[in-house]
Assembly symmetry: C2
Homo-oligomer: 274 residues x 2
């Protein structure tokens, strides 16, 4: 089993930020990634629809014999993590608990006391209250303020990642969080790290000070590493991990984005039907 690949899925290309972090931290692990580009975005859909889509993605990956499943999509993690853990006979890791832990650590370690964590996420992730529960399990002294930022996914998918439009969109979404005095901002969607510097600059401009921004990709890769180690599932150190990219639509444009995110070693994506 330890030689089997990790299965990673997302609604589209956002989960590549998690793949990048996994490959950097766990270079011996092989990865099969599935981006559900025929049905992206998930964050504006109902829970029932997201559950159905997540189940079909997981099924593709379990049929390929993955040893663990990483839900590299905040919306699917918020909605479908418990269901997939109950239904599947293998470890399942989401991106919300790792991101929440990282935010709580930063809140506890900074020079100024932080009472509130702001979360930018999709409408669906905010509606589930998943970050509120995840932070609540770690600290009873921190309040979570969720802000739906639905336009950031299409901005990233279209490559509008600099200039006035993403800046104004980031300011509009951050304003309520800064106004409520959030001391840490969590990027609660795996697409948002692409806009990280725009979001950091906007938060600094609105608040007049530096506000730390948490991207859950790194924290998730660390959680996957700890899980593999605790279960004795880590790949042998002699291995060099491979990467396979599967998508449900538009493999050519996905391959381009994968190369931009992962570097020139990225393989071409293969299209599959769900």
């Amino acid at each position: 089993v330890s030689g089997a690949p990790l299965g990673v899925f997302d609604s589209g290309l956002g989960g590549l930020t998690v793949v990048r972090a996994l490959r950097s931290r766990l270079p011996h692990e092989s990865i099969v990634y599935l981006g559900d580009t025929a049905r992206v975005p998930y964050g504006t859909r109902s829970e029932d629809t997201i559950l159905r889509y997540a189940r079909s993605c997981a099924s593709v990956l379990t049929k390929r014999g993955v040893k663990a499943l990483v839900i590299a999509c905040n919306t699917a993690s918020a909605v479908a993590l418990d269901m997939l853990r109950a239904e599947l006979d293998l470890p399942v890791v989401g991106v919300i608990d790792p991101g929440a832990s990282a935010a709580v650590e930063i809140a506890a370690s900074g020079p100024k006391p932080v009472h509130k964590i702001g979360v930018l996420a999709t409408a669906r992730t905010v509606a589930t209250g998943a970050y509120t529960r995840a932070v609540g399990r770690l600290s009873t002294r921190l309040e979570v303020i969720g802000q739906a930022a639905p336009l950031l996914v299409p901005l990233v998918e279209e490559g509008w990642i600099e200039g006035d439009v993403p800046r104004l969109a980031a300011e509009r979404y951050l304003e309520p969080l800064i106004h409520a005095d959030a001391g840490v901002i969590v990027l609660g969607c795996t697409h948002y790290p692409v806009l990280r510097s725009i979001i950091e600059d906007a938060a600094a401009r609105l608040s007049g000070r530096h506000i730390p921004v948490v991207d859950s990709a790194e924290a998730t890769a660390a959680a996957v590493g700890a899980l593999l180690e605790s279960r004795g599932l880590g790949a042998p150190a002699s291995e060099r991990g491979s990467l396979e990219l599967l998508v449900t639509d538009l493999p050519a444009s996905f391959s381009q984005m994968a190369e931009r995110c992962l570097g020139t070693g990225a393989p071409a994506a293969t299209q599959i039907d769900l």
Copy 2:
């Protein structure tokens, strides 16, 4: 057959602008509308995926015994009209030919000679060249310039329909069309009429003059009326047309938007599985 309803489908809520025009022009006709909200948007997907999605939408409507099919989505019209006409045993109307005709008429009738028609549309609609072909069948003297405007659909779906962000997005998309001296602008996506005044204002600001904007909903309703009359398929004048709204996800938020678009007489939407 003349008592059967019209079937209308779109990727989401944009096609409601066509429903509004149909109900105003053809008040005796009953309509069954299907919005594929579980898979919206279509305009960023591949042709094969759009063909598959359009075929499954058409199948739902033909099973309900509709007498004619209206593809109230420019992307699906551009990609799937010929296929559906070949496969189905009933009249199929798209939104592109009616919109192109209206633009050609305006170009011919204005005080100033117009040589170029600008089309704002999804990436997929522009890539198909459907407007270029449709205008070319009507006039050999008019050039069509297509401009992909993919962010306008999520802006409308999110309700960001006023203020700086839609204004800047409209200016950015219109700039190449105005620079190329387009004398008419076609809204080549059924979502865009919601942003019509923003687009008109941006075109006037960039060009320093009034530029007519064509919305294909009215022209499509006129084409459907002419088709029904020519085939003797019109509903009896004694009838009062009914309306049924079907969606593949999120019926509650769709019903709200339908009421905003169609007025308080709009029925609640029902969710179906495809």
